[in-house]
Amino acid sequence: MTARKSGSRIETEIERCRSEGQWDKIPELVRQLSAKLISIDDVGELLLGEMKLQQFLKENPPKQNCSPRAARPPLTEARTHLTNALQRGNLRPELQQEANVLMGKLCYVEGNYSEALTHFSCVNLDDMQLSSAPIYRLAMIAEAYATKGLCLEKMSTSCPPSSAERDQEIITCYEKSGDIALLYLQEAEKALSAGMQNRSPKPGPISQEQELGFFLETGLQRAHVIHFKNGNLTCGVGRFREILRAVETRTTQNLRMTIARQLAEILLRGMCEQSYWSPLEDPPAQSPLDEPQCSHTHTEYTLPRRARIYTGENLFCPQENTEEALLLLLISESMANRDAVLSRIPEHSADRVLSLQSASVVYDLLTIALGRRGQYEMLSECLERAMKFAFEEFHLWYQLALSLMAAGKSARAVKVLKECMRLKPDDPTIPLLAVKLCIGNLHWLDEGECFAQMVVDMQDKAAEFRAKGYLALGLVYSLKATDASLRGVQEEYQKKALGAFQRAQSLAPTDHLAVFYLALQLAVSRQIPEALGYVRQALQLQGDDVHSLHLLALLLSAQKHYHDALNIIEMALSEYPENFMLLFTKVKLETLCRGPEEALLTCKHMLQIWKSCYNLTNPSDSGRGSSLLDRAVADRRQLNAVTLPDFSDPETGSVHAPSVAASRVEQALSEASSLQSSTPKHGPLHPWMTLAQIWLHAAEVYIGMMKPAEAMACTQEAASLFPTSHNVLFMKGQVAELRGNLEDAKRCYEEALAISPAHIRSMQRLGVILYQLQRFSLAEKVLCEAVQLCSSSHSGWHSLAEVLQAQGNMAAASECFLTALQLEASNPIMPFTILPRAL
């Protein structure tokens, strides 16, 4: 203000130096000043005193939690200057205030708290002008409040009976100090950037990062520390939010990062949806978060001027604790990410550890917040950003792998898991997770075998996981056996699988999965009685396991105990009423036991269940698209049955005209990717595929009833969903056969095979039709191929035998007939392989 009045260049310069903390220039300026005017002497004393004090503080920065009790020469000097300035009383009121405030600070530094308080009582801090004050004065006022708070606190600890009133006064001091400090920092930055623009041609002093001194730091943070110490979470959170809402400055960046993280911690650890209140709401009068005994009298105060806060239209304001925690963590993450130390030279290892620590805390909290809400897709993207910290950091790699896995990005998850294995070769869980992915939708059996072998090779180190390892190994072999086209290879894998399952079972006799897969493997190799024994054992261990019950029913059907099988299925359905796999088997069994009418009723029932289950499905549930790569992989794998999305269609389940369906398919294909991720990972088939399957089962029942028209209508329903599905084409072929239209049937089967070259049933029927068309050698070739692909299907052998017989090859034919007969004796109503084999 002096500056503005006189307009003197020196005074402007002094103000600038005080604001920028260039104390070393002050003596020279004071000399110049006093050379011009004599009456300014007192001002000079004030400035010199301030300079001495500040330089002392710069050299001996006070530390938190330790009292600065050291009167040293420079302080006595400063005291002399300030006393001189104060004594004469010639100063203008503002400067008189400044002198008192500085004196108070000096007394605090010296440890004379009561003296400091008397100095502060000389000035009414609340009267000090905030508006239009020069920047240095803002800092001074903020520091004064903080110092006063510190002194009051020291006094109250020395004389214990501290009243609530006193506590409140202390807190108010700190809060005011913090508010003014924020204002000061904003103003200082504004001035600095303005100054930079004005002085840009000059080299000028390098824009050094401003550092908050001890007093400002205390002022900004002590208030909430006290709140939390008193167990007053509500006020502490309120204070955090106030600081965070103030517009960021360079200096407050680190503070904001820390506070944002701490607030997120509190939101995640100590709050719940019901105890939350949003930042723009008033806090609840009574909260379970606060200690019951803590006082709730939080004095409100007003300051004439406050720091700018974030404003604007459509500001996002969180409405829920997870939302707020997420927002804070994203802010914190963006800052932590900037501080990632990239260089790996040894000198910076301490810095690397620091930056890693601060980042990994943020990423852990992000994981907690997103994991609770099931947002694994977003989480995997966040953790990907953490990878710049991740060199040789097992935790970060592992978390990324898990998040990729949870987000359904299997292929990349496996690759990241490989790195995890390298970093921690002793952990059996990691290769097991990899196997789980490999034998899941990736179908990477060779890799899977490799990983499972790793677990098995860990021997005793793997402890309980060894059984799991054998189980995984068995599953890989079992799947390989199914895939193998040569009979010898198949048998070898089946043997290996059996061995592995037996090993798993002996290691973990109470694990129902090991017993179940053992039973399944025996069933696949048609050792029905043995399989029955094991499946019963599995059911003893886990009575309501759906797959065991299903397998039991299939085994009973293989022994031609259709009624028993149906009973089992019905029992299973009472526990799993919405399981379509069971229902499909039920349809087949009912056709045999109770006639097709019953089966048709079940089909109708299925349609009803389908509607009640999926009509509810929320349209906004579709999740976020997975990455391009995973999509591409998934697409390739699912080529034989393009998935159809469109959850949002309200008329699901109703009849569609073919044209509608066609346009829908196109739409679907463009959107297909968006749906991939939303399919439940372990759940049943995709809803639309399920619907199509229901229609196809109904069609089959109608075919059994010799009703081609109805069967065609059902097939058409399925075709409107999946016009290019091989199953649909196969069913069309069946209908054509029923109508006696062999050429049409042949075309349909050929089309089905064009889409899915390994579709056994189409192959078998094609062979039969070729046989009926008297094209024996071709029929033989097709049927041979079918038998090779699936050697356990009796109808294939039977048809082959007929063809051979027609060709006059009686010896071979009779052998085939025999095989067919043997296989038929142990043929289940549905192939055993429909049961899922997964970890």
Binding site: L255, L328, R373, G374
Partner: protein
Amino acid sequence: MLAMDQGVVEEWLSEFKTLPETAISSYAASLKEKASLVPALYKVIRENYSDLLEPVCHQLFEFYRSGEARLQRFTLQFLPELVWSYLSVSAGRNPHHSGCIEALLLGIYNLEIVDKDGQSKVLSFTVPSLSKPSVYHEPSAIGSMALTEGALANHGLSRVVYSGPHLQRETFTAQNRFEVLTFLLLCYNAALSYMNSSSLQSLCQLSSRVCICGYPRQQVRRYKGINSRMIVTSEFLVQLITGIHFALCNGEPDLGSKALDDVLYRAQLELYPEVLLLGNAIKSSLRGAALKSNKEGTRSIQVEITPTSSRISRNAVTSLSIRGHRWKRHESQENSIDSPDPPLGPIPTISVTGVSGERVVNGEALRGRTEAETLGGTSELGLDPRGQEVRRQKPRDAVDLGSPEELMEISEVDEGICTQAAVKEGSPPIIVVSSTNVTPSIGKTAGKGLRRLTGSRSSKDKEREKEKEGEVSRKQSCGRAMSENLELLSLKRLTLTSSQSVPKGGALSLSRTASAAFSRSFEQVSNALGVANRASSPASNHSPKENRHSACSLQEEAYVDHLSPANVSLQLSPDV
């Protein structure tokens, strides 16, 4: 059960029945004062055969149905105990079944899945995004964000459903059991702050028991009760873990950490990634915060005054400093352009020294790579099959002009302007990745490079060029890149010779801008560079290996493909 407890419960049962509608809220407030009631009710629930169980369950349901929040919470506090009671009975396949507990659980579930109007409730939340202003930030201050696919697809705020809608359930079946229980735990977790310690303890016990029954760990925990395994779902465990986390931080560190360990143990056996994620994160985040139960309060939320200045030393290379670094280099480029003879201006050179002599393991190769990439070039640090580091200098502009996006992707915090400017001006920063053990093979490589430069490209190269062209044809600047290719190559030769004649210029301009770490390594490499230049002075350029990473593949490969040495050598083999 003691007669006294029974009396308390009976009194509680009769009291509420006679309560007039208006007195409910005052009654709810007074419930807290009945200290002996809650333990007595726990006893009733634990004792499966108590006659009081049915009326108690009925009354708890009445409480819940009243709609009074405090009464609802009173009921909710028993939820973990009720769930355990239900699960243990159904797992034991006990003929005696606790029908009333099932009914209570289903009753709460059916009340909670609908809103006031009887519509199915859908729980959703908004995913915040830094690209939209909020009460806590301004997008411009955050700097450019990673342009991941997800970020683009999700630009702005999106609401995501995390639970619901759910079907009304009449009975528990094996299929819907955990669906119902998971939802109930979600409701419980929403009121966690109001739960007292006995409820939290019961939650921890429930978690431990569900997870270890029937597994070897049951012996470790010395729990004797049911010893058959219970089926769990990962969603159920996630909800349990959320509650355990709260218990851990709010007065139950011992039981909580035990429960957390047990849930993690089970999650490992079941191979549930979701649960492992959450559990690992909680464990690791609590490792820092000391978990001792402080005497004055039960909460382990402790806040200290932290220094506000960055604790990371100024001369460490951080993501941020690299960003600033690039700006400065860019400025110096501008200067050099302004000078009368652009091609002869000093070319700033950034170099990264590889570890000499040592065998570079995968991780390190990766590290060197990312470092170099973040510096702005796409230099390749490779391994040849013999395990020696191959020295390769790859001028970025010669090949990479086509894809500025690539750079954007590499250093996500990069300002777009910088990259674009660099592309326009075409005065390239040269990235050298070198090892100090200069091998004689350099001459050979250089010779090869020369051959390629002078146009006698092998057909293989041309093919790859085509491939590359196809790859980048989507990108706008591709055409220009191809046409300018030759021109730039000649430019490159000029600039290199000039830097050889005035090597100090480049060095100076760099050492001013670069941080300590880099200027030091620069000195080392400028020597190496000198040697290299002398060795290959007529050509002065090493084979500008085509960058075969498309923008999208890079992201993948950056940390995945390089994990196995096989991949690395495979990738390089055509050129080495």
